[in-house]
C-alpha cells in the first residue's frame, strides 16, 4: 500500500476528504445562491436565462461543475464509509444516553441530515439541471441570440405549493447540516486557533442561516408574486 492510499484509508484521511469536499461544496453553494439571486430580478427571467446559459457553456465553469460533481460523490461515498466504520466501533449501544447534554443535535445527526439533502439534490437536479442539459426547453431570444428558457421551468415548478414547501423544508435541513459542517471542516483540517476559531464559528453560524434562507426565499418569492 502506498503512503497515499494508506493515508486516505486512515480515519484522518477519510475525514480530510469529507472536510475538503464539504468546504468545496460550501464554495459551490455560495456561487449558486449568488447567481440564483437573479430570480429576484423583475425582468421576466432574462438575466437568469443568460446566466444559466453562461453556467452551462463556459469552459471554466465546466471545470468547476465537474469538481462539484466529484465533491458531491466523494462526500457521499466517504460519509457512507465513515458511518459504517463509526457504527461498527460501537456494536452494542447504551440503554440510556444523555448525548444532548454534551453535544448539539445537528452534530450527532449529520448522516441523517445529509441523506435528506441528497434526496432533495436528486429531485432538484432532475427538476432543473437535467432539464437544462437534456430537456426540451422553450427558447427565448434576447438581442438576436437564442437562450433556453429555464426561467419558465423554474417559474412553473414553484406554482406548486408542495414543491415550494418541499424546498423550504429541505433548506431547513441544509441549515442544520451547515451549522455543524462549516466549523467542523476547519477543525478537521486542524485549523483551530484561539485567534481565528471564534471567527470561523461566527461565520459558520451566519452562513448556515443566510444561505438557506436566501435559497428558501426563491420558491416563496416566485409562488407569491406570480
Amino acid at each position: 500500500m502506498s503512503w497515499v492510499t494508506k493515508t486516505l484509508k486512515s480515519t484522518l484521511g477519510r475525514k480530510l476528504i469529507m472536510a475538503l469536499t464539504g468546504l468545496f461544496l460550501i464554495l459551490f453553494l455560495t456561487g449558486h445562491v449568488s447567481g440564483n439571486m437573479l430570480l429576484f430580478k423583475n425582468d421576466g427571467g432574462e438575466a437568469f436565462n443568460i446566466y444559466a446559459k453562461f453556467m452551462t457553456t463556459n469552459p471554466a465553469v465546466k471545470v468547476l461543475s465537474y469538481l462539484t460533481y466529484i465533491s458531491v460523490i466523494a462526500h457521499v461515498i466517504y460519509s457512507i464509509i465513515l458511518s459504517r466504520q463509526n457504527k461498527s466501533a460501537r456494536p452494542i449501544g447504551y440503554a440510556e444516553s444523555k448525548a444532548s447534554t454534551n453535544s448539539r443535535w445537528a452534530s450527532r445527526n449529520m448522516g441523517i441530515l445529509g441523506t435528506i439533502i441528497l434526496i432533495f439534490l436528486v429531485v432538484h437536479m432532475q427538476s432543473f439541471w437535467a432539464q437544462m442539459h437534456w430537456g426540451d426547453l422553450p427558447v427565448v431570444t434576447y438581442d438576436g441570440e437564442e437562450y433556453k428558457d429555464l426561467y419558465s421551468i423554474v417559474n412553473f415548478a414553484f406554482q406548486n405549493i408542495f414543491m415550494v414547501i418541499g424546498y423550504v423544508v429541505a433548506m431547513a435541513f441544509l441549515a442544520f447540516h451547515l451549522s455543524h459542517g462549516f466549523a467542523s471542516a476547519f477543525q478537521t483540517l486542524g485549523w483551530n486557533h484561539k485567534k481565528y476559531s471564534p471567527a470561523i464559528k461566527a461565520i459558520g453560524q451566519f452562513y448556515c442561516i443566510v444561505v438557506p434562507v436566501l435559497f428558501a426565499a426563491m420558491p416563496l418569492y416566485i409562488y407569491f408574486t406570480s
Binding site: 484522518l12 466504520q85 463509526n86 452494542i92 440510556e96 448525548a99 453535544s103 450527532r108 486542524g190
Partner: protein
C-alpha cells in the same frame, strides 16, 4: 437515601449479559459512588451472590482506572471521575442505570469492567520519547516556554480513563490519542520522533477499531480532566504534515 440500581451484569466476554435491578437502602449522600457500590457488593457477598465487578484504583481521581456509564453519561452527571462523584449528586428514590463503556475496542471483561488495553497499545505505538539514560539532567537544561509547557501539561493531564471513547457517538479515541500526540509534539524532547509518532499512533488507533471524529465535542464536555478538542486539531495537523513529509513511503 433509598435507590434502585439498574446494573449491567455479564459473566464474561462471551456472555450476552443483561441488566439486573438491585434496591439499596441507607445510602449516605456523603458516600462516593464507588463506596455506594462497595456497600451493595458487601450485601451481595453476604447473600452468597456474585458481587458487581467494576474497575477502580486510586479513588483520588488521578489514575484513570474507574469508569462506569452512569445515567447516560460517562462518570455520571458531573464532569469528574466516578470515584470523585458523590451520592449528593443523586436524588432519594432515584433509579440509577450503570453500564460499562461501550466500544468494540473496549470489550467487556465482566459486568462493568472493560479491557482498555487498546489505549496501552496506542501509547506503545509512539506515545513516548527515546532518551539516553545517564545522570539526572540539570533543571532548565532544555528551555521550554511557559505557554508551551502549560499547553503540554494540559494535554498531559489525560488519565486514559476512556470517557472520551464512551461519550463519543462513534466510540472514537481521537481525544485520547491527540492528547498524547500533542503533549509530546509541543515539547522539545518530543521532536525527534514527532512525525513517526503521529503516523504510528493514528495507525494503531485505527487498527484497534475506534471510530472517526465527527467533531461533536462530546468528549471534551465529558472529559474529567477537561482535555480540549484543540488537541484533536493539533493531531490532525501533526498527522497531515507527517504523511506529507516523513520518510515512510
Amino acid at each position: 437515601m433509598k435507590l434502585t440500581l439498574k446494573i449491567w451484569r455479564q459473566k464474561n466476554s462471551s456472555d450476552k449479559g443483561g441488566f439486573a435491578t438491585y434496591p439499596v437502602d441507607h445510602v449516605s449522600k456523603d458516600m462516593s459512588f464507588l463506596e455506594m457500590l462497595d456497600v451493595l457488593n458487601e450485601e451481595l457477598t453476604e447473600k452468597g451472590e456474585d458481587p458487581v465487578h467494576f474497575d477502580h484504583d486510586c479513588r483520588e481521581g488521578i489514575c484513570g482506572m474507574c469508569s462506569l456509564y452512569i445515567n447516560g453519561k460517562p462518570h455520571g452527571p458531573l464532569q469528574t471521575t466516578t470515584c470523585q462523584l458523590h451520592m449528593r449528586s443523586f436524588n432519594d428514590g432515584e433509579t440509577i442505570t450503570i453500564e460499562p463503556w461501550r466500544a468494540k475496542a473496549f470489550p467487556v471483561v465482566k459486568d462493568l469492567v472493560v479491557d482498555r488495553e487498546a489505549f496501552d497499545r496506542i501509547i506503545q505505538a509512539g506515545g513516548y520519547v527515546n532518551v539516553n539514560t545517564g545522570g539526572v539532567p540539570d533543571a532548565n537544561e532544555i528551555p521550554v516556554a511557559k505557554t508551551i509547557a502549560d499547553l503540554a501539561m494540559d494535554a498531559a493531564q489525560c488519565i486514559g480513563c476512556g470517557a472520551c471513547v464512551a461519550a463519543c457517538k462513534n466510540a472514537s479515541a481521537m481525544l485520547f490519542t491527540s492528547a498524547k500526540v500533542s503533549q509530546l509534539a509541543l515539547l522539545p524532547q518530543g521532536q525527534v520522533e514527532r512525525k513517526t509518532r503521529a503516523e504510528k499512533m493514528v495507525a494503531q488507533m485505527d487498527a484497534e477499531g475506534f471510530g472517526a471524529c465527527t467533531n461533536t465535542g462530546a468528549c471534551e464536555a465529558e472529559c474529567p480532566k477537561g482535555i480540549s478538542i484543540t488537541n484533536i486539531a493539533r493531531m490532525n495537523r501533526e498527522y497531515f504534515s507527517a504523511v506529507m513529509s516523513s520518510d515512510n513511503v
